[in-house]
């Protein structure tokens, strides 16, 4: 048991320790080559530690608890795989680039936060690690220090902190609902359905996690951040980091209790985002932006699964959403890495590189036998034969189309030099992630309790997965042939509206400043002193 606890703790203590070691410049210089090793304890913990084991730090009355639950373990495991591959990619990526130190520090901060969030079992720890995650991720986004990177970083951290403010309020409300002194997420989720403040808390939770998950209309940070971040960072941000919010939803929302109103609202918002991301994504030209909008769509779909679970009170939604998310971790990570690899590859060697990317990309649309098909199959059980299922099929068609669009733009970004080959240090991590993304969903599927292998391989299921892909492919052909003048939609689409808000805020700020300088005049200040005295006197006399 002690061994298990140690292993569980080492999952985030090791990256955190490495972060502290960065204080020494000599170690910091060597750290890029060690990045791939930091997530290994997390992977080991997932493989070796029994589910539902936990440990606590602190005094008897107040402590931080860490535990491994099933959805958390699933996401942590695949995230650790992605972090390892992306870490290996990053160590190559960082060669001949400035500012190693800052990248490494932000990377380790993000990693610590990411692993910790997956393990945190109480609200304070969850909030702390989420904040650490946000700060580190913001640092990664602005790594290139271009004006657009700064803008992306500002938007990212602004929205993330706003989301955390919502979450903090929700957590405090939840803490007041839990009988006793417990701060455990489990107890909070149990107390939520019967709480008198239920609707307020749910609204705060969904707003907070929705912003972090890029739910439309809070999706605009995703295209900005993922196009600005360095390639390995974009891979882990879009793959692993954003799943923290999904896990938050799974843990906090009362999925075992039927809340039809909320379930419908969440499912509708998620499905809308699933389609919205596809529609806007098709108009984008840069492969990273297409991927970012695909993330908007996929995250929407995962949220829809959770919503359907709430609608029917089906507790299986937790694992289904986690499974779909786990698949998305690997695929999105691999695809972002491929952007970097293809950009360094010339036309001569393009096909061997492009083919794996094509398989996993179309797999996201549900190509049979890939993890994507499996994920959709698992999700389908929850969606049932409702409107939701129809929209899900639409989104599968759209995703196929979007991914083909991505491949087309990806091929066009290949290196000008036909002989160019990407460095092996970039290629291998990418190929490994791609391979893992095909294999791991099947392995995970076997661990999902009610899954049996033959089912997803039946002809009907295969055909159900195949025809949207074929239709998507046909649509793509048609699109490329007949519709040449796509509308230009700026990245982040509705963020344009935000600029107006900023201008209004500046005007208000100036007005407040003028008021302040009037109040700081001597006569004004002394008169307000007298007025306050009278007011306070009146207030206490009238009580």
């Amino acid at each position: 048991m002690i061994g298990q606890t140690t292993l569980l703790a080492s999952a985030f203590v090791v990256p955190f320790g490495m972060l502290l070691l960065c204080l020494w410049p000599q170690i910091l210089n060597r750290m890029p080559s060690l990045l791939a090793f930091a997530p290994i304890p997390a992977l080991a913990a997932v493989l070796l530690v029994a589910t539902d084991s936990s440990f606590a730090i602190g005094s008897a009355r107040f402590h931080l608890t860490f535990a491994m639950d099933r959805p958390g373990a699933m996401l942590l495991g695949v995230s650790a795989l992605l972090w390892i591959a992306a870490g290996a990619y990053a160590s190559q990526y960082l060669q001949n680039r400035p500012n190693h130190g800052r990248f490494v520090v932000c990377w380790l901060m993000t990693l610590t936060g990411c692993v910790g969030v997956f393990l945190a079992a109480d609200m304070v720890g969850f909030y702390f690690l989420l904040a650490l995650l946000t700060l580190g991720a913001c640092g990664l986004v602005i790594y290139h220090e271009t004006p657009s990177a700064w803008r992306a970083g500002a938007v990212y951290i602004g929205l993330a902190l706003l989301a955390e403010a919502f979450l903090l309020m929700a957590f405090v409300l939840l803490a007041s609902e839990i009988p006793g002194n417990s701060l455990l997420i489990r107890d909070a989720a149990a107390a939520l359905p019967t709480s008198p403040q239920r609707d307020l808390i749910l609204a705060l939770l969904i707003a907070g996690f929705g912003m972090k998950a890029g739910l439309v209309p809070f999706h605009f940070w995703m295209p900005l951040a993922y196009s600005a971040a360095p390639t390995p960072a974009a891979a882990v941000l879009s793959g692993a980091v954003v799943k923290a919010s999904i896990l938050g939803m799974i843990r906090f929302l009362p999925l075992g209790t039927a809340l039809p109103d909320w379930g419908t609202a969440i499912a509708a918002a998620g499905l809308f985002a699933a389609l919205y991301g596809v529609v806007i994504g098709i108009t984008q030209r840069s492969p990273r932006l297409v991927l970012a909008y695909s993330s908007v769509s996929q995250m929407g779909f995962i949220i829809a699964i959770i919503g359907m679970g709430m609608l029917t009170g089906d507790g299986r939604a937790a694992l289904a959403a986690a499974f779909y998310a786990a698949h998305h971790v690997l695929v999105k990570g691999a695809l972002f890495l491929s952007v970097g690899v293809i950009a360094a590859t010339g036309s001569r060697r393009l096909w061997p590189m492009l083919l794996p990317a094509a398989i996993i990309a179309v797999g996201l649309g549900g190509l049979p036998l890939t993890g994507g098909a499996l994920a959709k199959f698992v999700a389908d059980e929850l969606l049932g034969d409702s409107t939701a299922s129809t929209i899900a099929t639409l989104s599968a068609i759209g995703t196929t189309l979007l991914m083909l669009q991505f491949l087309r733009h990806l091929a066009s970004t290949a290196s000008q030099d036909p002989q160019a080959t990407a460095n092996a240090g970039l290629v291998w991590p990418w190929l490994a992630t791609a391979a893992v993304s095909l294999v791991v969903p099947w392995t995970l599927y076997l661990t999902v309790p009610r899954g049996t292998l033959p089912d997803p391989l039946s002809a009907a299921v295969l055909w159900k997965a195949l025809w949207p892909v074929l239709l998507g492919g046909a649509l793509a052909m048609a699109l490329w042939r007949w519709w040449r003048s796509m509308p230009q939609i700026p990245k982040g689409d509705i963020i344009v509206a935000l600029d107006g808000g900023v201008r209004a805020a500046v005007t208000w700020g100036k007005a407040l400043q003028r008021t302040d300088s009037v109040l700081r005049q001597w006569p004004a200040a002394t008169v307000s002193l007298l007025i306050l005295t009278v007011a306070l006197g009146a207030a206490v006399l009238a009580r």
Binding site: I57, G58, S59, R61, F62, H63, R102, V124, Y127, F128, A131, L135, I142, E145, W150, G153, A154, I157, G158, L161, L162, A165, L168, M169, V172, L173, A175, S176, N181, L183, W508, G509, K510, L512, Q513, T515, D516, L519, R520, Q521, W522, A524, A525, T526, S528, L529, L532, T533, A535, L536, G537, A539, V540, L541, A542, R543
Partner: protein, 510 residues
């Protein structure tokens, strides 16, 4: 006159430490005047760490015994005599202030130290004496047991703080000091009228005796209102903050750190003493909401104006205006609607942790700003580019201080915010929760602006005016780390603040 035998107030075993805490700084100031010159610095550098040890002893004593330490001066019992009392609240504040003083002393050694062989100057001499005087005045504020002693302590504090503002003798700092002095005097006169009225009604100013006799009469309530507003003026609570930005932004870095971290907390502490200890049942709903409204206005105005500052030190000064606002939110949150009493747990604990975490964080930030100013020769935010590469430790300290102000875990700011938010939920006053959360967002905005400028590359290669000593950076970083890790006290003895309070019910704040 109450029967003296009924008073539980008698000098406790370790009461003599309380006298030492006041006599040490006073002796240091007097000795420095006698010996003169460079001895002031040596005396201060010896006495300040011993003050920290002394404060720690008092804290441990209070914690272990579970009741307050008392010393009856000259064995003359109140109401005629003067009592010194240390409860958990004052002991905790003393320790934190001692930490800040020690860090400031280390930091100031670079700017105000007289090296062997160099000529003695007046500014360093004055600085060390004033530092010790502020320390003594603060200890008296924390320990003083009657309202008139506290008045004297408050005046000592002001008289020691004002010259710190204009230590460099420039015209604008002299003006800032003069405004500060006159406005503070106006505040202290109001306080004095209040004490006169209270004495007229109860024939005692001793806190414990008063709290037993206090009645809700017009004279008492008017006195309380006068004293409170006087203290607000000295705390620079919005809209009475006219003196704070120029004074805190103009002073030398070490002085700014003391003024922002320590001095404003003195008068805040008296507001707490007055309403929580002397007359916990007098404030009433309307009064408490007025306190809260002023605090909320301070948070919003201070933060928004800070966002628009072009100079770093002014930005930090306005951030102080905003952070002071949080301290006054505790009044509506601590008010128990059923009994009309201010409760000495929960929100009060949150407010004190906020005061402590702000003290450490803000001192670190002013020190960092001072180092940046020294290195660049200016503190214009728009031109900070490249400084993060030149002074990484300084910027790190600044950022950690900011993390605490924003209220991210595990900082003390987070713990305070959590406790205050819990209190808003418990009392159903959601509007204060909005203010608390919005304040955090504003704070992160201005921190982002400053840090993004600081880490941006500089156009031209950066030439530092002076080399910054490592120990100065270390002092700032140590304070910032203290503030960052303060949240971890939640894992330990957070109840210390409630020890020795009349209404202490050890509920804890989780």
């Amino acid at each position: 006159m109450p029967d003296a035998n009924l008073l539980p107030d008698a000098t406790t075993t370790d009461g003599v430490f309380l006298v030492l805490a006041i006599v040490l700084p006073a002796a240091g100031v007097l000795l420095s005047f006698v010996l003169g010159g460079r001895y002031a610095e040596r005396i201060a550098l010896v006495l300040l760490p011993s003050g920290f040890i002394l404060a720690t002893i008092i804290l441990v004593d209070v914690w272990q015994s579970g009741h307050r330490l008392v010393y009856i001066v000259g064995d003359w019992k109140p109401p005629l005599g003067i009592a010194l009392r240390a409860d958990g609240l004052s002991a905790a504040m003393m320790v934190v202030m001692a930490i800040v003083f020690c860090a400031v002393a280390i930091f100031a050694y670079a700017d105000f130290g007289t090296r062997a062989g160099s000529a003695e100057a007046r500014a360093p001499f004055a600085f060390w004496i004033l530092l010790m005087a502020i320390w003594g005045a603060m200890n008296l504020i924390f320990l003083g047991g009657d309202l008139f002693t506290l008045y004297v302590a408050l005046e000592l504090l002001t008289f020691a703080a004002v010259p710190l503002v204009c230590l460099d003798g420039r015209a604008e700092t002299l003006q800032a000091a003069l405004r500060y002095l006159i406005f503070a005097l106006l505040g202290s006169i109001l306080y004095l009228v209040g004490t006169a009225l209270l004495y007229g009604s109860y024939a005692t100013l001793d806190i414990v005796l008063l709290s037993r006799q206090i009645r809700a009469e017009p004279a008492t309530l008017v006195a309380a209102a006068l004293m409170t507003i006087g203290l607000f003026a000295k705390t620079a609570l919005f809209p009475l903050h006219l003196w704070l930005p120029p004074a805190h932004a103009g002073a030398p870095a070490a002085a700014s750190a003391v003024l922002s971290a320590v001095v404003v907390k003195g008068s805040f502490f008296l507001v707490v003493r007055l309403w929580f200890d002397v007359m916990p049942g007098m404030l009433g709903g309307a009064g408490a909401q007025l306190f809260g409204a002023l605090g909320a206005a301070a948070i919003i105005f201070g933060s928004v104006v800070a966002l628009q500052q072009q100079r770093l030190k002014l930005l930090i000064a306005y951030s102080t205006v905003a952070q002071i606002g949080y301290l006054f939110l505790i009044f509506p949150l601590a008010l128990d609607a059923a009994s009309g009493q201010l409760q000495g747990s929960g929100a009060l604990t949150g407010g004190i942790i906020q005061a402590i975490s702000h003290a450490t964080a803000k001192a670190a930030m002013f020190m960092a700003a001072g180092l940046i100013y020294a290195a660049l020769g200016h503190d214009r935010i728009a031109e900070l580019g490249g400084i993060a590469r030149a002074l990484p430790m300084t910027i790190f300290a600044f950022a950690l201080g900011g993390v605490s102000l924003i209220g991210l875990p595990p900082s003390g700011g987070f713990l305070a915010k959590w406790i205050l938010l819990e209190a808003t939920v418990a009392t159903g006053q959601w509007w204060w929760a909005l203010v608390i959360l919005a304040g955090g967002l504003f704070t992160s905005c201005y921190m982002f602006i400053v840090l993004s400028r600081a880490v941006a590359p500089s156009g031209a290669p950066l030439k530092l005016k002076t080399a910054v000593p490592k120990y100065q950076e270390a002092a700032a970083l140590a304070l910032a780390l203290t503030s960052l890790l303060l949240g971890l006290v939640a894992l330990g003895p957070i109840d210390i603040i409630e020890v020795g309070r009349p209404d202490s019910i050890m509920v804890g704040s989780r």
